[in-house]
């Protein structure tokens, strides 16, 4: 029996700026050729780590996993029998300070994804990369948003200002106007520390600390009233883990009862807002290793609609693919996580998924 499966996170990897050159203007090709600028070099995924590249994944055509359609097909889609896979691309556009260069690279990523992945492979959908300048991000959304194969806007979860901040309104406006959820994603290079207390020594800290960036973004989007201002706003937390979510909602709901005078536009509790307008991808699973204990955590999320399956290919996790779902999960919940929740949440997935 094959179960319908929507993989909400398959990562396309830009191996180097040369990959994008066909999609850059002659100006930027010349800059790259005549300067040492090689595009973004910051990455949340240092290539040799087992969290960045799943152990056992081979190169395909001498290119790393995720760099080519052949890899995505043979290593991500085929093994799971994926019906639809959503591509993200964590290339670090936000680390490029020159806004024109950042915008050009973001556009190049989107055009590369369309030409090399979406065009030849009907099972794929993609996320729109945007520069970290709100107005320019809105322009890019307007440029490619008419293509229904782009199903969400990709935003690195670490940012210089949280996405609820009103400077981002042009971006939110554009996303909502095009019926595109915002996908906040593991990583980001805003040039500011990944903790409230400065720069940690080790990568493993940065890896673990990413959960706090997701908490902060969600806090910001809710407190600023983004979900109230835009009832159509949808947010996906991708690569965030989910085990922290119950503790965070219990805290936020309690504090909200005490401080809601400050945010009168929040007419729902934070946990209700999350249930209505936020979804979370499965990997990396960050709960307890014991399946029964993990099921308890999933139950504590308070809704069967929150989790959406992701492989997070080619990243590495303790359990991969369908093994990431704990044994003993009720069949209805399993179906919802594997495909139903994504189909219901993404405005642009329904038609394609039904064939």
């Amino acid at each position: 029996m094959t179960e319908p499966l929507i993989d909400c996170e398959v990562q396309a990897v830009v191996q180097s700026i040369e990959t994008l050159e066909p999609f850059l203007s002659s100006h930027w090709r010349e800059v790259i050729a005549t300067t040492q600028f090689k595009g973004p070099t910051d990455t949340p995924y240092p290539p040799a780590l087992p969290t960045s590249r799943r152990p056992g994944l081979d190169d395909v055509d001498d290119r790393p996993p995720g760099a080519t359609l052949a890899s995505i097909r043979t290593q991500a889609l085929d093994p799971l029998g994926t019906e639809l896979g959503i591509l993200t691309c964590a290339y670090g556009v936000e680390s490029v300070r020159n806004p024109d260069a950042a915008a050009a690279i973001a556009s190049a990523i989107n055009d590369w994804l369309a030409a090399d992945f979406l065009e030849p492979e009907a099972r794929l959908r993609a996320s729109i990369s945007v520069p970290a300048q709100p107005a320019m991000a809105a322009e890019e959304i307007a440029r490619v948003g008419a293509d229904p194969r782009f199903v969400q806007v990709y935003l690195p979860v670490r940012s210089a200002l949280p996405y609820g901040n009103r400077v981002w309104l042009p971006l939110l406006d554009a996303a909502v106007e095009h019926d595109l959820p915002l996908a906040l994603h593991f990583g980001g290079s805003p040039g500011l520390p990944p903790t409230a207390s400065g720069w940690p020594t080790y990568y493993v800290e940065e890896y673990a600390d990413m959960a706090t960036a997701f908490q902060s973004q969600l806090t910001s989007l809710i407190a600023e009233g983004a979900f109230d201002r835009f009832p159509g706003l949808r947010v996906v937390l991708a690569g965030s883990g989910f085990a922290w979510l119950p503790a965070w909602t219990w805290r936020f709901d309690k504090v909200w009862r005490g401080l809601r005078r400050e945010v009168p536009w929040n007419t729902r509790s934070p946990s209700e807002t999350v249930r209505d307008q936020v979804r979370v991808t499965l990997q990396p699973v960050d709960g307890p290793a014991d399946p029964a204990a993990l099921l308890t955590v999933i139950e504590q999320l308070g809704s069967d609609e929150l989790l959406m399956f992701s492989s997070d290919f080619p990243r590495g996790h303790a359990e991969e693919g369908l093994d990431a779902l704990p044994a003993g999960m009720p069949p209805d919940l399993r179906r919802a996580i594997l495909s139903g929740n994504a189909r219901a949440f993404y405005p642009r997935l329904g038609a394609g998924a039904d064939g």
């Binding site: 087992p50 949280p162 500011l192 720069w199 080790y202 965070w248 805290r251 945010v263 960050d286």
Partner: protein, 369 residues
């Protein structure tokens, strides 16, 4: 023991304050008194502790708060002065009213956040002397926290050595948002000094680092500051575990104050998983982070997270697995005060309740020794 302890309350977080800037300045070392008087900017204004006592501190994060001084509106002493500045009124409103057996003072007066570390050290000395003279001496139920200029570990260690022989100091006090993650070497001599005197290190809600208050930038509202403080706690535990300070200092005890408790379980799961995959980077961390955390950390309750479903309370305590490490706190006189008779739901087991309400703190701080 059990009989005496039944119903006992130990409050691990009481924010006493001086009646005025001048009241604290009387305890400054003479050489600093004049200098501070010349530079303190807002003598008469008690809008925020940072402004009141900050000569030069981290600036750029002002959030209008829920109430003046974030205090309960009924906590202003009838005969004047700011909340928790008047010992008789604090006795009436907190110690006597709830039968508090011991209360741990955690004054937050900016010593650790001075950009001029020597000025901060002088302020810390004044705060500690003020605690002795005006709180510990007249009220035997109170214990105190050693304030230090924690961004300079040598100055902090000197202050710890200076006052630690007074057994009424229960711990060293830091704030959770520091200039660097607390596992880093610059803080190690502070931990060494605390250990020399067998003192836990308490780390309290608050403080300003040197950048945005979250890893996603500055929020706009006090509610984000408050909710977001839990992220600073998670990041600091991560740093202290990953840097291996508990391998270097096997006796070190850390108390996390006013951070809540519920995030501990997911943090332990996350760190255990990260350690299994990435431990090659931190070979000095020789066992599961969750084991290290359960051995070296204590947490206080307020503002305790409140799961809406009854079954999630026992589930939460089981997930954390630190029933011997959770210690009750009121956070008096702040607006989000948790009352001793109402903080824990009625269905928490009696044994667990008593451990949390008094016995865990009694054992950690050795109050009966």
């Amino acid at each position: 023991m059990a009989e005496r302890a039944s119903g006992a309350v130990i409050d691990c977080d009481i924010h006493n304050a001086p009646a005025s800037e001048a009241a604290l300045h009387a305890y400054l070392p003479a050489s600093w008194r004049e200098r501070r008087a010349a530079t303190a900017r807002l003598d008469a204004v008690w809008e925020s502790q940072r402004e009141t006592l900050g000569d030069r501190s981290y600036l750029g994060s002002e959030y209008p708060r829920a109430t003046p001084r974030a205090a309960r509106t009924d906590a202003w002493p009838p005969n004047g002065g700011p909340p928790a500045s008047n010992l008789p009124f604090l006795r009436e409103q907190l110690l006597d009213r709830y039968g508090v057996e011991y209360g741990v003072l955690t004054p937050m007066l900016g010593a650790g956040e001075q950009l001029d570390h020597e000025s901060g050290a002088a302020l810390a000395t004044a705060i500690n002397e003020w605690q002795i003279a005006e709180w510990l001496d007249p009220e035997p139920r109170l214990r105190a926290s050693i304030n230090v200029a924690y961004e300079d570990a040598d100055l902090a260690a000197a202050e710890i050595h200076r006052v630690a022989d007074d057994g009424r100091f229960a711990q060293v006090l830091l704030l959770i948002r520091t200039a660097e993650p607390l596992g880093r070497r610059k803080y190690w001599r502070l931990y060494e000094a605390a250990l020399e005197h067998d003192l836990p290190v308490g780390i309290h809600f608050g403080g300003w680092g040197r950048g945005p208050i979250t890893s996603a930038g500055y929020g706009s509202f006090y509610i984000e500051d408050t909710v977001g403080m839990a992220t600073a706690f998670q990041e600091q535990v991560t740093s202290m575990v990953c840097e291996g300070i508990f391998q270097r200092f096997p006796e070190l005890k850390i108390v996390l104050i006013e951070g809540g408790i519920a995030w501990l379980a997911p943090l332990m799961w996350r760190l255990d998983r990260a350690w299994k995959q990435l431990r090659a980077e931190i070979p000095h961390v020789d066992r599961l982070p969750s084991e290290i955390i359960r051995e070296h950390f204590w947490v206080t309750t307020q503002p305790i997270e409140e799961p809406p479903r009854r079954q999630d309370w026992p589930a939460l305590l089981e997930q954390i697995g630190m029933n011997d490490r959770i210690m009750f706190a009121t956070d008096y006189p702040h607006w989000d005060f948790d009352a001793p008779d109402r903080a824990l739901p009625s269905f928490v087991d009696a044994d667990v309740r008593q451990a949390i309400m008094s016995e865990n703190a009694r054992a950690l701080y050795r109050f009966d020794a």
